[in-house]
Amino acid sequence: MTALATTIELFLRERKCALPEIGLLQPAEPILNAAGEDIRRRIFMTADRQGRDLCLRPEFTIPVCLAHLASGKAKKRYGYVGQVFRQRAEEPAEFTQAGIEDIGARKSVAADVRCLADSVDMLRLLGKNRLSVTLGDQAIFEAVLKAMGLPRAWRERLGRNFGDADRLRADLDRLSGKENGGLGDLDPKLRAAIEAGDRDGVEGEVLARMKEAGLSEDAGRSAGEIAARLLDKAALSAVRLAPEKREMLEAFLALDAPLRDANRRLWSFARRANIPLGKPLETFHKRAEQLARLDLENVSLRYRSAFGRRLDYYTGFVFEIRGGPSDEKPLAGGGRYDRLMTVLGSRAKIPATGFAVYVDRTRANSASKAGATVRAGGGA
């Protein structure tokens, strides 16, 4: 083990983290299920002699969460440092990550704040003292959509693309434009049933088609599910996103301010738009207040309303930390992922936060500045 890893482990123990054993080879199935098929292109897959798909550990969060679920414990903090493997365009595929996963903590604002504080401290331990943090909160975006009275199907679509400006713009174009999900060619009987809002009739039509094709209702989508979505779609096909609502959404997504001003900006947005943001804004406010009490010398905090991670298990507070505001690649990223445990098979909802530091990025920069070698020395 390198001196650097020992230093990080000491830091993790001081912060009351257990250090679970996480193997380099991981079963691929839970990772593909949680992150989606797309991640397959970015990880290193292999198989054992029984044909079980395995991958080189692409990150620690999912394996740590699986270990937590297997332990049966309600609440625990975990820390890790080690190599991960991902296919990346400009950087080596093998690199070191260190981080903390805080699972099951019920006081969510306190856990959010601690998560950010821990990641700042870990970066300081690694010699990074000047930091710029970008914060986002998907819960605020979802509250805005809800308060604006947008239909659920739209809210879900927009929520899904939160954090991706291009996709969000394409969604807004579609919702305001002519091609807003027409129903296409339908046979007259079906069209009549839709127009009459006859749910049983529509369901019957779907069921007949399923029978004819030999599709089982238990195997996948049921007739009821298809009929319900079709009727929702029919109801929305004539609805357009009004220009003033679009403007309102775009005004919201353009908010970009130091965290100390963010609360005021959000309030004034809500007042101007005449929409109540309620509890999510209260939570945001409380979190911002507690963050302001941290020792943040040389750390700038900035809130960007459009900032989010496009992984569907991240649900609220998220952040990225850079060495400078214009640095392309973050030194660390983290946030709240309350949906991951259920995705991994937990029946109970278990809240969780976590962050990961790209250890090599903290080394590469300081090494080039100091003219030293990249070999990790003692950071403490």
């Binding site: 899904r160 296409g184 088609r209 399923m210 599709l215 599910e225 298809i226 779609k233």
Partner: protein, 236 residues
């Protein structure tokens, strides 16, 4: 020096390729016996002919083991990520046309576009406790296509034959497959999404970018490509 041109070793693809080469003025000598796969061009000894399966041609071009080959664009693009870095598509040959498409059960009357499928895929896991499953043999094309449409929450179920039967068999929900007339899909009660054409494929003349050629070989390769392309444009 010589370069190798690989041609499909069986079926209609072989016949149509040979007919095209004849029109381009190449007098191809077929292998002497059934076990050999080497052919030749009368009067042009610097051009060697290899008869290989269409998927093997794609692999050998990507590996840089042959300089030139005739195979389906679908196979070429499926066999490597970022195909244009490894391969130069020199001419579309006007035969072997087939589309790689996204098809869903006809009973999914609420799904007509990729945007619909995005909504369905996103809600699928919460409802059915598993991701949407796609049967296909086209891993690469499917992953790229779904990534381009911002859809990440799905799983691929590999299918090496009779893919169109997967939804009825309950092994997958939808498919990505190749079709030329659409009749097999129809017979299996599947419909193509209106914006679900992943690739309009046909037989292509393809050069490998991973093979080192002398200046003479490069000139030969270019002249072979030009003659074949001209024959496509001027059907006799």
């Amino acid at each position: 020096m010589t370069i190798t041109l690989a041609l499909p070793s069986k079926g209609r693809l072989k016949e149509q390729t040979l007919a095209l080469l004849a029109r381009a003025g190449f007098d191809i000598e077929l292998p002497q016996d059934a076990r050999s796969y080497r052919g030749a061009v009368n009067g042009l000894p610097e051009l060697e002919i290899a008869f290989l399966s269409a998927s093997e041609i794609a692999r050998e071009l990507i590996a840089g083991k042959i300089a030139l080959g005739v195979t389906g664009e679908d196979l070429a693009r499926e066999s490597v990520a970022e195909a244009d870095k490894a391969l130069a598509f020199r001419a579309k040959l006007g035969f072997g046309a087939a589309d790689v498409v996204v098809a869903v059960p006809e009973a999914w009357i609420d799904v007509g576009t990729m945007a619909d499928l995005d909504d369905v895929a996103a809600a699928f896991r919460q409802r059915h406790h598993r991701p949407l499953r796609i049967a296909t043999k086209y891993w690469q094309l499917t992953q790229n296509w779904f990534a381009d449409h911002g859809i990440a929450l799905y799983r691929i179920v590999e299918s090496l034959g009779a893919t169109e039967g997967a939804p009825a068999a309950g092994t997958a929900d939808i498919i990505v497959d190749i079709t030329s007339t659409g009749s097999t899909l129809k017979a299996n009660h599947l419909k193509i999404l209106s914006d679900g054409i992943v690739l309009r494929s046909e037989a292509n003349l393809i050069a490998s970018r991973r093979v080192r050629l002398t200046r003479e070989d490069r000139a030969l390769l270019n002249s072979v490509c030009e003659r074949i392309a001209a024959a496509v444009d001027n059907p006799a």
